[in-house]
Amino acid sequence: MTRMANPYVPRRARIESIRDECGGPRPVRTFRLAWADEPTAPFDFLPGQCVELSVIGVGEIFLSIASAAEDGDRLELSVMRVGRVTSALHALEEGEIVGLRGPYGNGFPVAGWHGSNFVLIGGGIGQAPLRSLLHHVLAHRDDYGRIQVFHGARSPEAMIYRDELEAQAASTDLDVYLTIDWKMGDDGPLDEDAREGWPRVALDDPVTTEVAPGQFRFTGFVPQVVDAVSPSCGDTIAVTCGPPVMIGLAVQSLERLGFRPEQIYTTLERRMKCGIGLCGRCNLGPQFVCTDGPVFSQQQLLALPEAFA
């Protein structure tokens, strides 16, 4: 028999640089990777696609790619330190070698989105695949319309990509809205915790918030800021990624604004092992997040069991 390629075997990739995105108990670092072996096979991918990253000897994790193919032949992965493999990865230094295989998953269907406006809604590390999409869209700016980016974090210090997003807001025609979470007390948000330069959204009815011209910083949960800004649904694709609760509330906000299920997309996280539809654990009913997803429209998710679990 002809010997088939072993799909589990990763290729060697060198960590070219490491950037600290945020600190705290769940720090995030962005690893910039280059293929370590010549000749490098082309590695083309769509925004929203994923890779399996190995710290050999420790394990392997499935990650959304945080950069776009248009960024060049380097790959960027933003990784929050939460478990065994991510802790081992955070302990690595520039120049060290990791394993990489992919790309996996469907990615965002960007070819069908030409001419659309975008509303991107990200929370925490969920911004990583949206960054990939944003880089792609900015590299093909003429193909797309207005772009509004909502991005939230627990605090200004915990906000990943903040410098990049603020720079893009200043130098491009992106509309960027950054927000930090309310500090919660027993009776709801703590008023006194509003931060200098991060005005609060109206708590009772976020839609009534007066948004100053050019305002791009807020205090409030991401969906509340979406309510406050009230983006238009006309010819617009909304893409949201973040904690499941945030995704659920963001979808509700979008539906109130008139977005239909086929206009709303998300990219899902599940525990994954093989990445190629074999090991079984990332199923949504008969589909696998690793191969059929991770990108799904709200219309697709409404028909799939456990999609909102």
């Binding site: 028999m1 010997r3 088939m4 390629a5 072993n6 799909p7 589990y8 075997v9 990763p10 060697r12 050999i56 000897g57 420790v58 394990g59 392997e60 929050m80 939460v82 478990g83 065994r84 493999v85 991510t86 690595l92 230094e93 120049g95 060290e96 070698i97 394993g99 904690p243 499941p244 996280e269 599940r270 525990r271 092992k273 093989c274 190629i276 539809g277 074999l278 090991c279 079984g280 654990r281 199923n283 009913g285 008969p286 696998f288 191969t291 069991p305 456990e306 679990a309």
Partner: protein, 352 residues
């Protein structure tokens, strides 16, 4: 090709088979039975061969889909590593004494591991050229219900050869090109104990098949199930159904169609293996994400997933992914009975 072999000559047939290929046979091993390799010079266990009566507790899936299988080897260096790919399985594997339900189980495994998404190379190479010599169940086990899920005690689906127990002899019939080649090769051996089948053995064979069909002890009507599952997903009944389950995962490990696995690195010194290891959807950790989120935190949710996977999502060629072997019933330590559960689900009618 059809052939007959006297009962007392089965050992000679196995010796010939073991000379040719890597042979695995079901043996009562003190742990309820499993498939083990049999070398040509090994004595055939006289009473231990599980060719009639209950099937081996462990299905033959582990012969072709090992509980722990290396994906590749690696060597760690300072800040770097190298990978050694492992040679694929070279030997042709012959499994003698596969029950028809387990033969169908391999069909399901094929669809999952050689499927549209990806292909598992270790399974593909073990499966390549494999010959499944089935043996019909003259006396099905106490929890068998193969006829309720599209099978039969002498079903041929998934098998390459079917043996039928005629009491003093076995009747062998090839079902595929691979089975035909194997049977012809055995018949061509100088010391072959095979004799040609004849109309009389054919007739006894048909009678044995008919009798066995009537001896399948348990039945469940799956006809109304699909319509119920259509609307029962959000029903509260799943937590009730799972109440007795202790989450040990035995049902999934003993299931001939379960294939879920984990991937782990096993390291000694600066060398190691990345392995795939059987896992179970009945374990909480199976879907536990490092970040804290778990889409299936409750046992009822995990039961629901397994149930739907066997009877709806995993359905294959119009048949459920359950082959009715009854092992998950017989060997459940807390007495959970899948047939009972099917009936309770149907009774609920998907009320939610």
């Amino acid at each position: 090709m059809k052939a007959v072999i006297a009962r007392e000559d089965v050992g000679r047939l196995l010796a010939i088979a073991a000379r040719r290929d890597e042979l695995h046979v079901p043996v009562l091993d003190g742990g309820g039975g499993r498939f083990v390799p049999l070398n040509a010079e090994d004595p055939v266990p006289r009473d231990g061969l599980m060719l009639n009566g209950s099937s081996a507790r462990r299905p033959p899936k582990e012969v072709l889909f090992a509980q722990t299988a290396p994906l590749f080897a690696f060597e760690l260096r300072r800040g770097d590593f190298s990978i050694d790919e492992l040679p694929p399985e070279a030997a042709t594997k012959v499994l003698f004494g596969v029950r028809p339900c387990d033969g169908r189980g391999f069909r399901v495994l094929d669809s999952l591991l050689l499927g549209k998404c990806g292909t598992d190379p270790a399974y593909a190479s073990a499966r390549q050229g494999s010959v499944l010599v089935g043996i019909g169940c003259g006396r099905p086990g106490s929890d068998c219900f193969c006829t309720s899920v599209g099978g039969d005690p002498h079903g041929t689906d998934g098998l390459d050869v079917l043996a039928t127990d005629l009491g003093d002899a076995l009747h062998l019939e090839s079902l595929t090109d691979g089975g035909e080649g194997w049977l012809r090769a055995i018949a061509a051996a100088v010391d072959s104990p095979l004799t040609p089948a004849n109309p009389e053995t054919d007739q006894r064979c048909r009678e044995a098949h008919e009798e066995a069909r009537g001896r399948v002890p348990r039945h469940v009507d799956l006809e109304p199930l699909d319509a119920v599952l259509e609307r029962a997903f959000d029903d509260e009944l799943w937590d009730d159904l799972a109440a007795a389950c202790i989450g040990c995962g035995a049902c999934t490990f003993l299931c001939p169609t379960c294939r879920c696995f984990d991937v782990q690195d096993e390291v000694r010194g600066d060398r190691g293996l990345r392995v795939r290891v059987w896992d179970s959807c009945m374990f909480r950790e199976y879907t536990q994400e490092a970040g804290g989120h778990n889409p299936r935190p409750r046992r009822g949710m995990r039961w629901r997933n397994r149930f739907y996977d066997k009877f709806r999502w995993g359905a294959h060629d119009g048949q459920p992914a359950c082959v009715g072997c009854g092992r998950c019933i017989t060997h459940c330590p807390s007495g959970v009975d899948l047939i009972d559960l099917v009936e309770r689900v149907v009774e609920s009618g998907g009320a939610a």
